[in-house]
């Protein structure tokens, strides 16, 4: 009996064959066009022609739509539909719970008792120590002097054979607040170590796309002054500490008359360094003149305390395991 019953249920469960929808020949044509793969055309020339034709049609349609939007904006003015925002990797980044709310009291108090707070709370004037790696080539020195021109109250030292721990000891005794050490590989700047003194964090960056002042066209000549500092898009908790470290390299009150600006712009975890002067051609027109070097930084690690490669504790240490998707960022 039991077998019979199961058979019956099975019969009930069987689906009826679906009736095919009737399609008009026009619809069929459209569908063929939509799902047609141009790679199936074996003749290369015809294949190429077909693809270019499709591209052209798409372009024509886009221009039509754009013209329509422009007209609407002209006629309706403020009542026109809002502008469409492009979808980028940066705008569709993964949710991060460490993104800082600037009104959060806990984080404000945490920042006030930080290692870097001697600059922000007490108003200590920074003094920066710049060196190269051991056994430098002569190519690195122009780059070091370019950085020296961007950062006021800084000095370039010959590295000799001193270990980083020895330099830290010397610099703390001489009242320096920061150390910048630039490493090179195949005569090009490769990495930067930024140590905050006396017991602040140390950050290790990778340097890429470094351009010296000498190699740039249409550059201006920087003047000794305190530049204005712009720090863009450092949103997370880690990004805040990095931004505070970078800000503490420059003196508090900028010379607005000299009109020089240093920018650290963070985009997808890459920090772009630029150095500009803004020039008023007329009261309404402003233009930018580029000075100094260009380079981009990427954070490799952030260490608690001064430099100690082996025994030090890391606040952040980049591993390939952390790069789980293209839309995950840490700064």
């Amino acid at each position: 009996m039991s077998e019979k019953s199961t058979k019956k249920t099975n019969h009930k469960l069987m689906k009826k064959p679906k009736q095919k929808k009737k399609i008009t020949p026009q619809q069929r044509k459209e569908r063929r066009k939509k799902f047609f793969n141009p790679n199936t055309i074996q003749n290369k020339m015809r294949n190429n022609q077909y693809i270019q034709k499709l591209k052209h049609e798409k372009k024509v349609q886009q221009t039509k739509e754009r013209r329509k939007r422009r007209q609407l904006e002209k006629t309706l003015g403020d009542k026109a539909p809002p502008k469409q925002l492009p979808q980028t990797i940066d705008s569709t980044r993964e949710f991060d719970e460490t993104i800082v709310d600037p009104r959060d009291e806990e984080i404000i108090l945490d920042n006030q008792s930080d290692e870097i707070s001697s600059y922000f709370v007490e108003g200590k004037t920074p003094k920066v120590f710049i060196t190269s790696s051991k056994k430098p080539t002569t190519n690195i020195y122009p780059f070091l002097f370019d950085i020296k021109k961007a950062i006021p109250n800084s000095k370039v030292y010959y590295r000799r054979r001193y270990h980083i721990k020895e330099i830290v000891k010397y610099a703390t005794n001489a009242d320096f607040t920061d150390i910048i050490i630039i490493n090179e590989d195949r005569k090009k700047p490769n990495a930067m170590l930024l140590i905050h003194l006396p017991n602040g964090p140390t950050a290790h960056f990778k340097i890429s796309n470094a351009v010296r002042r000498k190699e740039m066209k249409d550059k201006g000549r920087p003047v000794d002054s305190n530049p204005e500092v712009i720090l863009n898009r450092f949103t997370t908790r880690l990004g805040h500490t990095i931004a505070r470290m970078l800000a503490s390299l420059f003196p508090h009150q900028p010379d607005f008359e000299k009109r020089q600006v240093v920018t650290f712009h963070n985009q997808r975890d890459f920090i772009f360094f630029r150095f500009h002067r803004y020039i008023f051609d007329s009261p309404t027109q402003v233009r930018l003149q580029e000075l100094g070097p260009q380079f981009t930084l990427k954070l490799r690690s952030l260490q608690l305390g001064t430099f100690d490669y082996f025994h030090g504790e890391y606040i952040y240490y980049h591993k390939s395991l952390l790069d789980t998707s293209r839309r995950r960022f840490f700064l």
Binding site: E97, T98, D104, E106, I107, D110, R237, L304, F310, H311, G312, E313, Y314, I315, Y316, Y317, H318, K319, L321, L322
Partner: protein, 299 residues
């Protein structure tokens, strides 16, 4: 109250897990020592490894150490040079074994519940599990990116929680070694402790004489409680008694419907950083035996 001096510098101080009468400390250039709390005298001093080929002493830097949970004789040490060491107080040559297990310092250590293995945390956020007999690597727990300051294993369930400089509490499953959940807590965190929930369950059982099986099943579904001990006790007083949960018509076996594998409330437990309740060994043994009984009945 007695006051006595300990040799500095110190990286960690621990108390032994059975009668809390011994105190152990170690640090940079300061090898592991055990003191008697009542007299204040040094009872035991660890030995270093023999000198190397050039007859130079091997440097000492103890980062973290823990007592075994079943005896007050054996101590496990993680050093800053990546060594895992095991000391036995009863032996004349008290360093039983020392093995270089990692390239980086072992920053935090805990002994597992069964005393067979050790969980060790790195300064870059890696957690490993090592066998205690030979120091063999039994697998890693991934996900953290900052130095680990403390690891702790759940007294009853198969979970390990860690805390560190990346401001997260992370919980891992010890069987599958996969991350179970994480919590962002805004501060750089130093230590964590699990509440001794299993112990409380047993106390309740002895008082009210409820069938142990049904109550322990229920306890997983109930919400865990916030920081203070008082809150914990109040909450346990207000809990429904097992008879209320199961109406008379149902047998105790049907109670297994209420039991679910949802431990999402475990996250709240880890916030109890300041709590200092020591977990009794006897209770633990009883609980583990109870759990086994359950499994048999379910099958």
């Amino acid at each position: 109250m007695t006051a006595f001096q300990i040799k500095e510098p110190i990286s960690q101080i621990r108390v032994d897990s059975i009668d809390q009468k011994l105190l152990s400390s170690g640090g940079n250039d300061n090898i592991l020592k055990v003191y008697d709390i009542e007299t204040g005298k040094c009872v035991f001093e660890g030995q270093n490894e023999p000198n190397d080929e050039l007859d130079l002493p091997i440097p000492i830097w103890d980062r973290d150490h823990k007592w075994k949970t079943d005896s007050n004789q054996v101590i496990i040490v993680g050093t800053s040079y990546g060594d895992l060491r095991l000391y036995d107080r009863r032996l004349e040559n008290n360093l039983v074994f020392s093995k270089k297990v990692l390239k980086r310092p072992l920053n935090a250590i805990t002994v597992s519940r069964d005393n067979q293995s050790v969980y060790a945390g790195d300064t870059t956020g890696d957690i490993f599990r090592f066998d205690l007999r030979r120091g063999k690597n039994l697998g890693s727990f991934k996900g953290a990116s900052g130095s680990i300051r403390a690891i702790e294993e759940h007294p009853v369930l198969d979970f390990v929680a860690c805390v560190g400089l990346d401001r997260f509490v992370r919980i891992y499953d010890t069987v599958s070694r996969l991350p179970h959940s994480k919590l962002y807590l805004k501060q750089q965190l130093n230590s964590l402790l699990f509440t001794s929930q299993g112990k409380l369950i047993l106390e309740e059982n002895q008082k009210e004489k409820i069938s142990s099986k049904s109550f322990s099943k229920n306890s997983h579904n109930n919400k865990t409680v916030d920081n203070l001990d008082k809150d914990l006790e109040d909450a346990w007083d207000n809990l429904p008694i097992a008879d209320d949960v199961f109406p008379e018509g149902e047998s105790s076996d049907s109670g297994s419907v209420h039991f679910s594998d949802d431990f999402s409330n475990d996250e709240n437990e880890d916030e109890n950083e300041n709590e200092n309740e020591n977990y009794n060994l006897e209770d633990e043994n009883e609980i583990s035996s109870l759990d086994e009984d359950e499994n048999e009945n379910d099958n």
